[in-house]
């Protein structure tokens, strides 16, 4: 009698825990995909970076030689320098446009949804489509900007915007801001909307001006959203490739080769797969460091909630 009573819960417990194992079957396809197409390639990148690995023929272990070669690879460091320069400029430019837009569409007023949709449209177009589109607009003969400026009499003769560094670089910045600002705007908008309205009103009663309110309330309370928007923009820009490949082909005079572009060239144009892997490890270390900064910035503020 007691034996039966005791065994019933035991059996149901073991069958319950068995039933929990079924969960493993549900997540198995996902785990398999991530293992085969992410974890293994990641391990292989580290492994390959220690080898001389041509596309054809045998690969040989060379220790850290690839990494020593990177130290001497001035063109890679130039590419990295350019990538950081681009990242800083484009991030500032995106925020300078996206923040005012976010404030503009924050509160529901007539037509706000329509404006928001319009600002956001370029963000759903792919980077490749946007780059192709702008490569046409920027073209000296068949494009828009240069011929339009010429027709309006702003310039004496048509200027090829993509022939020299400065105009080419700023053209890319303009294109990326056009494409990305709407996205950043939405992120910032969620931050603005999460600020309690009564806090702002209380500050108004206390006689705080708009600028003071912005500095004392808006910015501190938006810290996590700002950090998120910042990290998304920085990470995206460090990995920039499409626009520089499609619009500029790394030119003029290889001045706009980004880090990913250089890795692409080494791996898939020169087919130095081992060296490309070592370069990838450097890029990966930079991005992981960035993610750690992100986690630190996005941590729940101490003392608050």
């Amino acid at each position: 009698m007691t034996a039966i009573a005791a065994s019933a819960p035991a059996r149901s417990r073991s069958s319950a825990s068995l039933r929990q194992w079924v969960g493993l079957l549900y997540v198995l396809p996902a785990v398999a995909l991530v293992t085969v197409f992410f974890v293994i390639p990641l391990g292989m990148t580290a492994w390959m970076s220690l080898h001389n690995w041509p596309l054809m023929g045998e690969h040989s272990f060379i220790g850290l030689d690839n990494y020593f070669a990177i130290l001497r690879d001035t063109r890679f460091w130039n590419a990295l320098k350019f990538t950081f320069y681009y990242t800083v400029i484009v991030t500032i430019a995106i925020f300078a446009v996206a923040f005012p837009l976010a404030i503009f569409i924050e509160r529901p007023r007539p037509l706000t949804n329509l404006y928001r949709t319009a600002f956001f449209m370029p963000a759903v177009v792919g980077f490749a489509s946007a780059s192709l589109l702008w490569s046409w607009l920027l073209n000296v003969d068949s494009g828009l900007f240069s011929p339009a400026a010429y027709d309006l009499g702003l310039i004496a003769k048509k200027v090829n915007l993509l022939a020299t560094f400065q105009p080419a670089f700023w053209s890319i910045i303009a294109m990326v801001v056009w494409k990305v600002a709407g996205f950043t705007m939405i992120i910032l908008m969620t931050g603005l909307q999460s600020i309690p309205q009564d806090l702002q009103e209380a500050a108004v009663i206390d006689g705080a001006g708009p600028l003071a309110r912005f500095r004392a309330i808006t910015l501190p309370l938006m810290r996590r959203t700002l950090a998120l928007a910042l990290i998304l923009s920085v990470a995206g820009s460090i990995l920039a490739f499409d626009q520089f490949y499609i619009i500029l082909r790394g030119g003029p005079r290889n001045q706009t080769l980004t880090a990913v572009y250089w890795i692409f060239n080494q791996s898939f144009v020169s087919f130095k797969l081992g060296y490309g892997a070592a370069l990838s490890m450097v890029l990966l270390a930079i991005l992981v460091a960035l993610s750690l900064v992100q986690l630190w910035l996005l941590r729940k503020p101490a003392g608050l909630d």
Binding site: Q20, P29, A30, L33, F37, M48, F119, S129, S142, L273
Partner: protein, 285 residues
């Protein structure tokens, strides 16, 4: 009088707001509208600067017709893009619904480890592991196949979509499940008949992101698809724009870009609610 002044100020404010809104909207929409309008020029006119953007020497769809004369033709690339995007949507929805359900409703060994593993892949840029992905695909016999590209795209979608689906399943009250279990539903019928209708918005969101991601992806397709008959639209159009098929036909480039943009724009306009939802979920996490 004070009242009139404040009313004047209000009108002035509204006027300023709408003129700002309209000017900004025009700036954001102009490149898209300009391109779409220009595609309807005859090829001859499309070579000239687009001033004005609309056709002046007659309406024509010549630019779309010539697209098919480059290499294997744009239609082949469009089919590839459609196939890759649709398959990515179907597979990533299937895999993430299963995984989201598994992570949300079962306690099995290594559950948290697997979940963190999948989510942490978002920290690693896939650009840095493209070479080994290339080698893995070769090993699996999926080298230069659209199926191989689909596998890569699905894997890239997983951290976001599994995160979304787990949250969606977590939000479903357990009582609903228990009631269904009383009625004799097993795990699979439960998932399909009871749970799926409740997490439907999440499914639409991840499907939308999967489609846009696969449709617009460029670098992986450029590296992994070496045979022209396997090119997706962005790779094909870049080849065309780089002058690989002779002198650059800008009319064809505009038409190709339009073909690439329009599905994204339509899907976004139709499913905007779900798109913003996905963004918010990502932002709030």
């Amino acid at each position: 009088m004070a009242e009139a002044m404040s009313r004047n100020r209000k009108v002035g404010f509204t006027l300023a707001r709408h003129s700002t809104g309209i000017i900004a909207s025009v700036l954001f929409l102009a490149p898209i509208v300009w391109t779409v309008l220009s595609t309807f020029k005859p090829a001859q006119e499309a070579r000239q600067p687009p001033l004005p953007p609309w056709p002046t020497t007659g309406f024509s769809i010549e630019n779309y017709q010539t697209l098919n004369s480059f290499g294997d033709g744009l239609w082949v690339s469009a089919q590839n893009s459609i196939y890759v995007s649709v398959m990515t949507v179907l597979l990533s929805v299937l895999v993430s619904v299963l995984a989201g359900y598994g992570f949300s409703r079962f306690r099995f060994p290594f559950r948290d480890f697997f979940f963190v593993l999948i989510l942490s892949t978002i920290m690693i840029p896939f650009q840095s592991i493209l070479t080994p992905i290339f080698l893995v695909l070769t090993k699996l016999g999926l080298h230069n196949t659209l199926t191989g590209l689909v596998c890569v795209y699905v894997t890239l979608q997983l951290p976001f979509s599994i995160f979304m689906m787990r949250n969606a399943f977590d939000a479903v009250p357990r009582e609903i499940e228990e009631a269904a279990r009383m009625d004799g539903a097993n795990n699979v019928t439960m998932l399909i008949k009871v749970m799926l209708p409740l997490v439907w918005p999440g499914v639409v969101t991840i499907a939308l992101f999967a489609f846009l991601g696969a449709w617009n992806e460029f670098l992986a397709a450029l590296v992994l698809m070496t045979d022209q008959s396997k090119f997706t639209l962005p790779v094909m159009m870049t080849a065309l724009q780089s002058g690989r098929f002779g002198a650059i036909d800008w009319g064809a480039v505009q038409a190709g870009v339009t073909v690439m943009m329009v599905p994204c724009l339509i899907l976004f306009l139709a499913l905007q609610r779900f798109y913003i939802r996905g963004l918010m979920a990502g932002a709030v996490k």
